[in-house]
């Protein structure tokens, strides 16, 4: 039984943590919150240099050649720091799509640039697990035509992956460079300004099919990203709990620390339990992601639902523990509160994932 990361993987996580403690204080998060692009170039470059962006990409293609588990431990640290970094679409979705399903030319062209942070990947989130063909842009003869309303990193990204349909009505994954004049972008405000999106119109923009990937691969990518994102979520949930704990130790009411009242103690103990359960599911998701077998759908759902519930509860009760201070703009509480909702929704909301989980429980291999 070795249900844990290896010492080397943990050390990698520690390295990312120290880097973010140095480069990504909350002032950096707030700066990104308010600026035009919604992310910190400093942080992004540092993450590239630390090998995080290329962790899962093999060395020959410009990556670091570690693996998905390193991405998981690193993601936890990004979440903990509330890092204003376009990690979700660029590292967990776009890079993974090209790495797993791109042809050699596509991999050679993009992966090194994605690993170095010189290129930011974007991802169209419009579609659920049963994409509606009518919604998809059409990919024909190397040109993409149509619209997407929810493209993560749509403004800042250099290359996007989206579902498209062929002229024969087949869903395929398409890869499209965003700098082309045939791509019309418009920023789409989000509920967490440290995670940005755009709506895109492709007016016969040059694009290619991503290998032979279609709807099943699209779904698989979402499931993988759900695990990576779950690690960001549990990192953020732990941080929110620590904020609440620290405040409860320091803040006095009626002559004693509010953390000495059972109302607060038990609230935070309950959050802790939820975070631990979420962490266990995330670890299992990480295992399933590497095993890449039939366990992934259920494991990803478990990781995603548990992490979303944990961060929702932690962010919400962190505010409650902070009292009046917690609802002010100057407090960091609301940054977690926003992130909690964004992350819980962006790849599909909890009710949708609970439906996925139920299906997997009925058809998939037994849970554990």
């Amino acid at each position: 039984m070795n249900f844990d990361f290896s010492p080397e993987q943990k050390a990698f996580g520690q390295q990312i943590r120290r880097l973010l403690e140095r480069r990504c204080p909350m002032t950096e998060v707030r700066a990104a919150f308010a600026d035009d692009v919604g992310y910190s170039r400093t942080v992004w470059t540092a993450l590239a240099e630390a090998g995080f962006l290329g962790a899962a990409i093999e060395g020959a293609l410009g990556g670091v050649g570690l693996g998905p588990l390193e991405v998981c431990v690193g993601a936890e640290e990004l979440g903990r720091a509330l890092a204003p970094a376009p990690s979700l679409a660029s590292a967990y979705l776009c890079s993974e799509a090209i790495r797993l399903y791109g042809d050699t030319t596509q991999q050679t062209r993009w992966l090194g640039l994605l690993a170095s942070g010189d290129v930011i990947g974007a991802w169209a989130c419009d579609d659920g697990f049963a994409p509606a063909l009518d919604d998809l842009p059409e990919l024909d003869a190397g040109r993409l035509r149509g619209a997407r309303s929810m493209v993560l990193n749509g403004m800042t990204g250099d290359v996007a992956v989206t579902l498209a349909r062929t002229v024969r009505g087949q869903p395929v994954l398409a890869l499209c460079a965003l700098g082309a004049p045939e791509v019309i972008r418009a920023a789409a405000p989000t509920i967490d300004p440290t995670r940005r999106a755009a709506s895109l119109r492709f007016e016969d923009a040059p694009a290619q099919a991503l290998g032979t990937a279609g709807a099943p691969e699209y779904r698989r990518l979402i499931e993988r990203a759900a695990v990576y994102l779950a690690f960001e979520q549990i990192g953020a949930a732990d941080r929110a709990l620590e904020m609440a704990r620290d405040y409860a130790l320091q803040r006095k009411s009626f002559g004693r620390p509010i953390g000495s009242y059972q109302a607060i103690k038990h609230k935070l103990a309950t959050i802790y339990a939820g975070n631990q359960i979420a962490r266990a599911h995330a670890y299992y998701g990480a295992w399933a992601l590497v095993a890449d077998g039939p366990e992934l759908p259920l494991a990803a759902a478990g990781a995603r639902i548990a992490a979303s519930e944990a961060l929702t509860a932690a962010a919400q009760e962190n505010i409650q523990t902070h009292g009046g201070l917690g609802v002010t703009w100057d407090s960091d509480c609301h940054l977690f509160y926003r992130r909690a909702r964004f992350d819980a929704h962006v790849l599909g909301a909890p009710l949708a994932w609970k439906a996925h989980a139920l299906t997997a429980l009925q058809v998939g291999p037994g849970a554990g």
Partner: protein
């Protein structure tokens, strides 16, 4: 058992309606109110409040002799119910604290000179009041005031900081708790004053909430001089006065009719998406809407129970505390459900569903705030447990310890 007015209540309701029709305009079906800002907003509110006063609808339950309406609490409620359908010039937001909390306190605990000076002008809308009890280190404990008032002849010199003060930036006067004896236990060393908000040394700064709005202020007090004549109640005897003020507060806080409720959620759930799918088709969404209804309508019914007591001239029970306790977290859950219905696209609501989003965002941020303001969930459970169920109070060390030796 019925929900009807008594004949006398019905007659009063009609009186109110006729009068409202004569002085202001009925709102449209969306109940949207005109937005006014700055000086115009205050001037129109003062004017409307003066008319209410002249008609006897200001300070409804205060004695006629001091300028009040001389009526019962049930009349106040009927009045509010009716006025909710009209443009009220934001009088509740601007004058509410004075009318509901400060002026009744001055009437019960102020001296005759203070009553003569302040009650009538306050009721008439000439003067706006705010309440200066909360402090940065105080939290849920209104007795934790650290703002120091030191006697200097016929005056007191005040230094300290207040927070969460609504309307401080436009108020004329404030009712303020101070610490006058830091060596006494906390409840025995407080004194209450009337503060002239324009006195030198009073500085007001807005608090930015997470929603981006600023409904509250911090008030910094630096060597502010207050005449002893502005002291309400005895020196070091202010806890009694403060408690009287706070008794009026809880009734006024809670969700508002316009907050995102079950009917708004149901409306969203019936709205088809681009593919004709309606969230209501998912029984999990339906169940949550029913849960929202159970809480919201149940709380509304509890309100009717309180009104029934008032209508009989009795004191209502703990319905207000229970209503707030169940409604506040429900508002937060309602926001979550509204987002759930948008699935992934909830992330984009500020842009794509701007109209709906305003309502959802308010429930999301205000839902978090209202679980804290005016008696947090935790404080309310303590109140219900202790005052209703008779369970023991928390172990307290601060009741007997000298205030300046209590941990901060």
């Amino acid at each position: 058992m019925d929900f009807d007015d008594t004949p006398a209540e019905a007659a009063f309701r009609e009186e109110v309606r006729v009068w409202l029709d004569s002085v202001t305009t009925r709102l449209g079906p969306d109940r949207a109110r005109p937005t006014r800002r700055g000086g115009e907003r205050l001037a129109l509110a003062r004017e409307y409040q003066r008319r209410r006063f002249e008609r006897g609808f200001s300070g409804m339950t205060l004695p006629r002799e001091v300028g009040g309406g001389g009526r019962q609490a049930i009349h106040q409620i009927i009045y509010q119910q009716e006025e909710a359908h009209y443009d009220n010039f934001e009088v509740p937001e601007i004058f509410g604290i004075g009318l509901a909390m400060c002026l009744p306190t001055i009437l019960s605990h102020g001296d005759p000179a203070q009553q003569a000076r302040f009650v009538r002008p306050g009721l008439r809308g000439d003067e706006i009041w705010c309440q200066l009890f909360s402090e940065p280190t105080g939290g849920s404990d209104a007795a934790a005031a650290r703002t120091a008032a030191v006697r200097d002849g016929d005056q007191w010199v005040v230094n300290g900081q207040k927070t969460w003060t609504s309307g401080a930036h436009f108020a004329d006067f404030g009712l303020m708790t101070t610490r006058t004896n830091p060596t006494a236990p906390k409840h025995a060393g407080m004194t209450v004053f009337i503060l002239d908000m324009r006195a030198p040394g009073v500085e007001t700064r807005p608090i930015h909430q997470m929603s981006g709005e600023s409904d509250f202020n911090e008030v910094f007090l630096t060597d502010v001089r207050i005449p002893d004549a502005m002291r309400v109640g005895g020196v070091d005897d202010g806890w009694k006065v403060a408690i009287a003020t706070l008794m009026h507060e809880r009734a006024g806080i809670g969700g508002r009719a316009r907050d995102l409720g079950w009917s708004g959620l149901l409306r969203m759930a019936l709205q088809p998406d681009a593919h004709g799918r309606r969230p209501i088709a998912d029984p999990r969404v339906g169940e949550r809407i029913v849960d929202a209804w159970l809480v919201e309508f149940g709380a509304q019914l509890l309100g009717y129970r309180a009104m029934t007591a008032l209508s009989r001239g009795e004191q209502p029970g703990p319905e207000q505390s229970v209503m707030k306790l169940v409604k506040a977290p429900q508002l937060q859950r309602n926001a979550y459900l509204a987002m759930e219905m948008a699935d992934a696209f909830a992330a984009l609501m500020p842009g794509t569903k701007a109209g709906v989003w305003r309502e959802v965002e308010h429930a999301w941020t205000f839902g978090a705030s209202i679980r804290i303001a005016g008696g947090s969930d935790e404080i309310l459970r303590n109140i219900v447990a202790e005052r209703v169920l008779g369970l023991p109070g928390d172990v307290r060390i601060d009741k007997t310890t000298p205030f300046n030796q209590t941990p901060v």
